[in-house]
């Protein structure tokens, strides 16, 4: 970790060579980091930026893995519940449709958003931004896509939802027999891969790559 950076003196570099701490607004010259190094704010210890190894390639790889898992998660059965001599096999998307048919459109939309729409949008959005960048190219609207991915960050509660699934299943274990399907494990891995894809590249680095590819 390169914690100690030269703090800007009275002579300021041009704007795009500066970085300001997100938490305390201290201003620094953009540090030159080797791969694997991170820079932290000298005043409040927040991470300013980090230069991850093979950031773009890793991020793309994780996104492609997530996309593959997404297909598995939606094709195979999620789980089956056996109780009172009756067995129900559940596919992911069915749960949302079933809620809608039971007259709970709001709940159906919430569930549908978290288990189907968000993963699909995240995978496709990341692929749309990352794949062309590997070739140094930029597709129209990629700034909007990337901005939406980052700004919706705190509201992407897929992992919270997954813990919710685990808790409810533990509640159901007492009254019925629950068997996990392939899609259950695929969905868990999908969440891990998407988190890893976003963590593999510093957002400042990704935005710099986008900016450069657009100006070519």
């Amino acid at each position: 970790m390169a914690g100690d950076l030269p703090i800007t003196s009275a002579t300021l570099a041009s704007e795009d060579l500066l970085v300001a701490c997100h938490d305390c607004d201290a201003l620094y010259h953009l540090p030159d980091l080797a791969e694997g190094q991170a820079a932290c704010c000298a005043r409040c210890d927040s991470r300013l930026l980090v230069n991850r190894r093979n950031a773009l390639h890793r991020s793309t790889a994780f996104t492609m893995a997530a996309t593959t898992l997404l297909v598995l998660a939606n094709v195979f059965p999620f789980m089956s519940i056996r109780a009172a001599g009756q067995q129900n096999v559940i596919v992911l998307a069915e749960s949302s449709v079933a809620l809608w048919e039971h007259g709970m459109p709001w709940l159906a939309m919430v569930v549908g958003t978290f288990i189907v729409a968000t993963p699909v949008a995240m995978c496709l959005g990341l692929l749309y931004v990352l794949l062309p960048l590997l070739l140094g190219k930029s597709l129209p609207g990629n700034r909007w896509v990337c901005r939406t991915i980052y700004r919706s960050g705190p509201w992407n509660m897929m992992e919270v939802f997954f813990i919710g699934i685990l808790v409810s299943l533990l509640k159901l274990f007492s009254i019925s027999e629950v068997i996990f399907g392939v899609a259950f494990w695929a969905f868990g891995m999908l969440i891990l891969c998407l988190t890893a894809a976003l963590a593999a590249i510093d957002r400042r680095e990704l935005w710099l790559l986008i900016e450069r590819s657009r100006s070519l």
């Binding site: 938490d23 069915e94 986008i210």
Partner: protein, 214 residues
């Protein structure tokens, strides 16, 4: 321990940094030249918005905990569960880990979050002596908040699964909506709070002096 040094802030140079991409530019009130997000020196009306959202969250906190979060109708008749009642039910059946998860996510986190947001709002209005600790408090508040949604999702999932299984019926109660409201409002409050105000208050208190370091 690092040596105390005077720090130049972006704001003091008439610059602001983009919330989305981190680009520094003298473009407050305009879209960011790199990513197009509207730029601000500080989040607009940060203090007022945060206080308003906390008040709303506190108001919803009472119905969220006093009303039933779900009603289970089985062979033994209808049973109404509040959030805390659900935790007790898990504890009594011996599912201690689940009881602890739900208790932490649904009871402890919302209270701690509301209290720390109040501490932060009070802190930026007074001379702050420990801006580092407050910044850490803010970071934790921001990260941990979304996990409170677990209970709302549990209700949603149970309703779904049990409807599908036709074992009995589970209906979501009014507290589910109120509790979702508490979580969303506290998340919005944490987002609208600007941690840089802590450091502004700190420098205002000791102009010309290097920031105090513990």
């Amino acid at each position: 321990m690092k040596a105390a040094r005077a720090v130049i802030t972006a704001a003091s140079q008439g610059l602001s940094s983009c919330h989305t991409c981190g680009r520094v530019a003298a473009a407050a009130g305009h879209p960011c030249p790199r990513c197009g997000t509207p730029m601000h020196v500080r989040k607009p009306n940060s203090f007022e918005r945060t206080v308003a959202l906390i008040i709303a969250a506190v108001a919803l906190y009472f119905p969220a905990n006093l009303l039933p979060i779900m009603t289970v109708e089985g062979i033994g008749g209808a049973q109404r569960n509040t959030i805390v009642g659900g935790v007790f039910a898990f504890w009594e059946t011996g599912s201690y880990p689940v009881a602890i998860i739900i208790f932490t996510a649904s009871v402890i986190i919302p209270i701690v979050k509301i209290i720390s947001l109040i501490i932060l709002c009070v802190a930026v209005r007074r001379p702050t002596r420990n801006p580092r600790a407050l910044t850490v408090l803010y970071r934790l508040t921001e990260i941990v908040g979304r996990w409170s949604m677990v209970d709302v999702f549990v209700v949603a999932i149970l309703v779904t699964l049990v409807q599908l299984g036709r074992l009995m019926t589970i209906e979501p109660g009014p507290a589910a909506l109120a509790f979702a409201g508490v979580v969303i409002l506290t998340m919005l409050a944490a987002m609208s709070f600007d941690p840089r105000l802590i450091w502004d208050a700190h420098t205002r208190q000791s102009p010309g002096h290097p920031p105090h370091q513990p």
